[in-house]
């Protein structure tokens, strides 16, 4: 398919990337794509490793990737020292501002040995990142199916790393729906607020942690240009969804279930956390099917990853379902996310998902942000502790108030036994809460 190139060609010189220091037009991106094509074809290169985090360069490379049988590995600059599987050792590396340099293993005679497509590094918090093979077709499936027409002409602001799965979704959505992408250097919520106001951003997508930070930064003027609020990357909790809808009544609030491995699977627009339990028996658009096995959400979809590069086996069941690692529970008509299987805390022999307790705390009116962690002790193995960023006007005895509320509403083993009031909770570069180790 050459949809991306065709769309860019149709746009002539209209701006695709908006910047305070000058916009980048569709024709600039196509010109860069031609330069890349020349540089790559004259070298006979087929493995490209891009460390450039400029969305315009990224779009140019994606045009190349849909026109030639190349393997495009996307990483950010700090991933430059990542050891890629041998088959993906790059022939050329694209560095800042589109500079192309030969890879360390480059030779004209090297065999291909790897499937063409897009290779994404997972943001795995532990160990070496895995490399997931995706196709541009799969990466754009959901947006083409559901939202290109509806989102036409939107102004999108990028809060994710452009090279990440979520970042690519935003970059490609903006380009394919004939919108524009706002790119700033600021990584703070205050700076993102300022950019959103300056460029009258209509589409903003971020993690729930990002949105809670933004809610703290936005002033009484609000962001009246916002039409679409999207949450992804972490499970969206009811407290955050409610606060967003109150703060931005003119915008639609959507939370998306997606991962690098599975692609973008479904979107929930009814303002409630989790997704309808009725979906478990249905085939959703894109061939998406959902089931629960041993408390874990398993999925099938046409956008499912092709495979991991290198020696990692794909985490598929024998009958071809992807085990997501997300633990869920059916509560009445809803499937609710409880946490990741690698985040379980054992309290007195009982499993607790810290995210579930965080979601409870975040619904409290005096809590802005919360992080739940394990505190080891000799009596029960561990008990929960909670770090709390209090909301403005929170009472001095908030810790005692929260303890009382938790003891009233939660089973005893899910009650945090120590509350620490903090100014902020560490957030990773991908706007996710850093899990305490």
């Amino acid at each position: 398919m050459s949809r991306l190139r065709t769309t860019l060609e149709a746009r002539g010189n209209s701006p695709v990337v908006l910047r305070e220091q000058g916009n980048v037009g569709a024709d600039d991106i196509l010109r860069q794509a031609i330069q890349f094509s020349d540089a790559i074809t004259t070298r006979g290169a087929c493995r490209i490793f891009s460390l450039d985090d400029d969305p315009a360069t990224l779009l140019a490379l994606l045009v190349v990737a849909e026109s030639f049988p190349v393997s495009l590995v996307l990483g950010r600059a700090s991933a430059g020292d990542v050891k890629l599987p041998e088959e993906l050792e790059p022939d050329v590396v694209v560095r800042d501002s589109g500079e192309i340099v030969p890879g360390s293993h480059y030779s004209r005679d090297r065999q291909t040995g790897c499937a063409p497509g897009i290779y994404l590094l997972t943001s795995g918090t532990t160990g070496r990142p895995k490399v997931v093979h995706q196709t541009l077709e799969a990466l754009t499936a959901r947006m083409r199916r559901e939202s290109l027409e509806k989102n036409r002409g939107g102004i999108w602001l990028l809060t994710y790393e452009p090279h990440s799965f979520a970042g690519l979704q935003v970059v490609l959505s903006a380009a394919l729906s004939e919108g524009a992408l706002v790119m700033g250097h600021g990584r703070t919520a205050t700076e993102i607020c300022r950019l959103a106001r300056t460029f009258r951003v209509s589409h903003l997508s971020g993690t729930p942690t990002f949105w809670r930070s933004l809610l703290m930064a936005v002033d009484s003027e609000g962001l009246p240009s916002l039409r679409q609020i999207t949450l992804g990357g972490e499970a969206a909790d009811q407290g955050t969804l409610d606060r967003l809808q109150r703060a931005f009544p003119q915008a639609r609030v959507t939370h998306i279930y997606a991962s690098t491995e599975a692609g973008a699977l479904f979107a929930v627009n009814d303002g409630r956390a989790g997704f309808p339990a009725a979906w478990l028996g249905e085939e959703l658009p894109g061939g998406v099917r959902l089931r629960i096995r041993e408390g874990m959400l398993e999925v099938q979809a046409r956008s499912l990853m092709q495979r991991y590069a290198g020696s990692h086996p794909a985490p598929l069941t024998e009958d071809g379902w992807l085990r997501t690692g997300d633990l869920v529970e059916v509560v009445e008509d809803r499937v609710l996310f409880r946490g990741r299987d690698d985040e379980v805390i054992n309290v007195a022999g009982l499993k607790v998902f810290p995210r579930e307790v965080e979601a409870y705390l975040l619904a409290h009116p005096h809590v802005r942000e919360a992080r739940v962690l394990a505190i080891p002790n000799p009596m029960t193995g561990a008990v929960l502790g909670a770090e709390i960023v209090p909301a403005a006007g929170a009472p001095d005895n908030l810790a005692q108030e929260l303890l009382r509320a938790c003891l009233r509403d939660l089973p005893a083993h899910k009650v945090p036994r120590r509350f620490a009031m903090v100014e902020r909770i560490p957030i990773s570069s991908s706007w996710k809460k850093v899990a305490p180790r």
């Binding site: 009596m379 029960t380 502790g385």
Partner: protein, 81 residues
């Protein structure tokens, strides 16, 4: 921290827990047994008392494994300097 100060701390955490549960406060003394049912607390409440003592005293008497204690006084002595 002296044994008396540790005892005061135990009383304070116990008061917090009982207040939060809406149970009448209980006045502690050294010879009260911790977990034989005399006190209206469970092992999670006791864990809360212990992590608080670890935090305020900076001591961890259980670092090398569990140490037996039966009464409030014995618990206080484990954390007293």
């Amino acid at each position: 921290m002296s044994k008396e100060e540790v005892l005061l701390r135990i009383q304070a955490v116990l008061d917090q827990v009982l207040d939060a549960k809406g149970i009448p406060r209980v006045k502690l003394s050294e010879d009260v047994a911790v977990m034989d049912g005399t006190l209206p607390i469970d092992s999670l409440d006791l864990a809360q008392i212990v992590i608080e003592l670890q935090s305020v005293t900076g001591r961890d008497p259980f670092r090398n494994g569990f140490v037996e204690f039966r009464t409030v006084g014995e618990l206080a002595r484990l954390f007293a300097a």
